[in-house]
């Protein structure tokens, strides 16, 4: 630290840091703190009634359950896609690579109505699935489908660069020492990928927990069955129950903070493992 003070050749430190802190406080920190200040003004009973009513608890179960399952599904298929894109040549590889980011670029409301058009009773896939007794839209499976859609790029984009950078030497050494290809992949490649895969999982999960736009169209929003937690905040707001909305928001914010710290921890672990910075 003292080194930098004596050596500060470049101008603009005070200005850039001052503006950064002021803008960060004004746009993010002060408004976010409003949630906690308002929550702190509630009695324990008011808070508990808002965050632990059966309908809200049902929404936690759905939100976290579906987000976990979606992140797990994304890990499996995200890993397959990342592997395919980095390790194999096939026609259309560049196009697939570019379109992986579609869920980042496509507005969530658009994704929501498109997925509903596909999985509704008379939809593209729904018309074949419903006669088989598989009902996806307007129930919990619809929530899962939407969360899988929005989470996929997180896993692919964290695993892919590690796979690309992975030196062939390790697998060559394994092969020359008599390991089978399966052993080389499961004992050499997979452990190297693990931190990135877990980071991707955590990122997909964190995004899925807060997701709103793509879910509400396909979920059906049936109380106790297919309502997600962000929707509960909206519902409380529409009933002018600002206190209830804020209490639930404070729970979600605390979870967001914890996930953010988890992701940071995982990323520094991954960086140590692979020597790569994110």
């Amino acid at each position: 630290m003292s080194h930098s003070k004596t050596h500060r050749v470049l101008p603009g430190f005070g200005l850039s840091l001052g503006f950064t802190l002021a803008y960060l406080s004004l746009i993010v920190l002060v408004p976010v703190s409003a949630v906690f200040i308002k929550t702190a003004g509630m009695t324990a009973e008011q808070f508990w009634t808002a965050v632990a009513s059966p309908r809200v608890v049902a929404s936690y179960k759905l939100t976290f359950g579906a987000a976990l399952l979606a992140a797990a599904i994304n890990c499996v298929f995200g890993l397959l896609l990342a592997w395919g894109i980095t390790r194999y040549t096939f026609p259309g590889r560049k196009l697939v690579d570019a379109l992986i980011d579609l869920p980042f670029a496509l507005p969530t409301a658009v994704a929501g109505i498109a997925l509903t058009a596909i999985y509704a009773k008379n939809g593209w896939l729904g018309q074949f699935l419903e006669p088989l007794g598989i009902k996806i839209a307007f129930g919990p499976p619809g929530v899962l489908v939407a969360l899988v859609f929005i989470g996929l790029p997180f896993v692919v984009r964290t695993v892919q660069p590690v796979l690309e950078d992975l030196d062939a030497e390790f697998e060559e050494a394994a092969a020359s020492l008599g390991a089978t290809r399966w052993q080389a992949v499961t004992r050499i490649v997979f452990p190297t990928l693990l931190p990135a895969l877990l980071t991707g999982f955590a990122l997909a999960f964190a995004r899925a927990v807060g997701e709103y736009g793509s879910v509400i169209f396909i979920a059906g929003n049936i109380p106790m069955v297919s309502e997600i937690t962000p929707l509960m905040i909206i519902t409380k707001l529409e009933q002018y129950d600002y206190q209830g909305a804020t209490a639930i928001a404070s729970v979600m914010l605390v979870i967001s903070f914890l996930l953010l710290l988890t992701v940071n921890g995982l990323q520094s672990w991954a960086a140590k493992r692979t020597g790569r910075t994110y």
Binding site: M1, P31, F77, T86, T89, L237
Partner: protein, 297 residues
């Protein structure tokens, strides 16, 4: 992970080198299984929704499609979306450059914590992002009484829509610039200063040219999110037709009124924006990974 880190990867895009090497080559059947499972998943979960938007948009014919786009409420939604992005993107651009300059060129205590805080809006649910501005500026909020006494409307009006958009797009440009500028260090800037360049000259002639592609990349992603944001904007908009509806909110209203073709028509504009975003993004990634061909095109 930042785009720049991805594109600067020494082996980016060299899939064939793994297939030429006996030690990293998978058996044909493995390749077949991995690719078919991955690509079927890709086709169902990513490709199909994209195609569905355009086909559903034209289901009732081109006349209905274009009528939905030029209808006054749609035009006002398009206008508001452009306004929100036109304010949010430059604000976050200035912030991103300023934050990256402070973080990458200087050492100070709490730097890592600052970087974490900058990422915070990414992990906050869009609905909570909208709610915080209701708590600050809404009628029940901190400044609600004062604002209403002075007849200033923020929530359920354009200012809150802009604020919510600024919040959700807050980290995009900063997080592209910070890792790149940290990797580049401060040697070039220090050389320029010691050769007599002013701070501004150094910034515009040394720093900006070094980061221009990452900057553009951040702007593209920031803009896409700004124009497409739904949850946060939905909470603060009040949904007044022709006044406080952005394009995604207009899509929702049409959809809930069972005007499916019109909803998908407006949605197709947003999907087109997403495709343009992806194309530009791919181009910028290619430019970053091929610096040698910089002036050739």
């Amino acid at each position: 992970m930042s785009a720049v880190a991805k594109a600067l990867s020494p082996h980016a895009g060299g899939a064939s080198r793994f297939e030429r090497n006996a030690a990293t080559r998978d058996a044909g059947i493995v390749k077949f299984l991995v690719l078919s499972l991955g690509l079927i998943f890709f086709a169902i979960f990513l490709l199909m929704p994209l195609v569905a938007v355009f086909l559903e948009a034209f289901r009732k014919g081109a006349a209905t499609y274009f009528a939905a786009l030029v209808e006054p409420d749609a035009l006002s939604a398009i206008k508001l979306t452009l306004i929100a992005a036109a304010i949010a993107v430059p604000l976050n651009l200035v912030f991103g450059v300023s934050a990256a300059w402070a973080v990458a060129k200087f050492n100070f205590p709490g730097k890592q914590f600052l970087i974490t805080l900058i990422d915070l809006p990414f992990s906050v649910s869009p609905v909570v992002a909208g709610l915080i501005y209701v708590l600050v500026f809404g009628l029940q909020g901190w400044f609600g009484a004062w604002l209403s006494a002075h007849d200033i409307k923020i929530v359920f009006a354009v200012p809150a829509i802009v604020l919510a958009t600024v919040f959700v797009t807050f980290p995009f440009i900063a997080r592209e610039l910070i890792p790149l500028m940290q990797a580049q260090g401060r040697d070039e800037e220090e050389a320029a200063i010691s050769l007599g360049a002013s701070g501004l000259q150094t910034f515009f002639r040394v720093t900006i040219p070094n980061v221009k592609w990452a900057l553009l990349y951040g702007v593209i992603l920031c803009n896409a999110r700004a124009m497409g944001e739904f949850g946060a904007v939905s909470v603060v908009s009040g949904h007044i037709r022709g006044e406080t509806n952005t394009m995604p909110l207009h899509v929702e209203i049409l959809y809930n009124e069972y005007q499916f073709a019109a909803a998908f028509a407006v949605a197709s504009l947003l999907a087109l924006l997403a495709l343009v975003t992806l194309a530009l993004k791919t181009y910028v990634e290619w430019r970053i990974s091929h610096p040698a061909t910089k002036e050739a095109v």
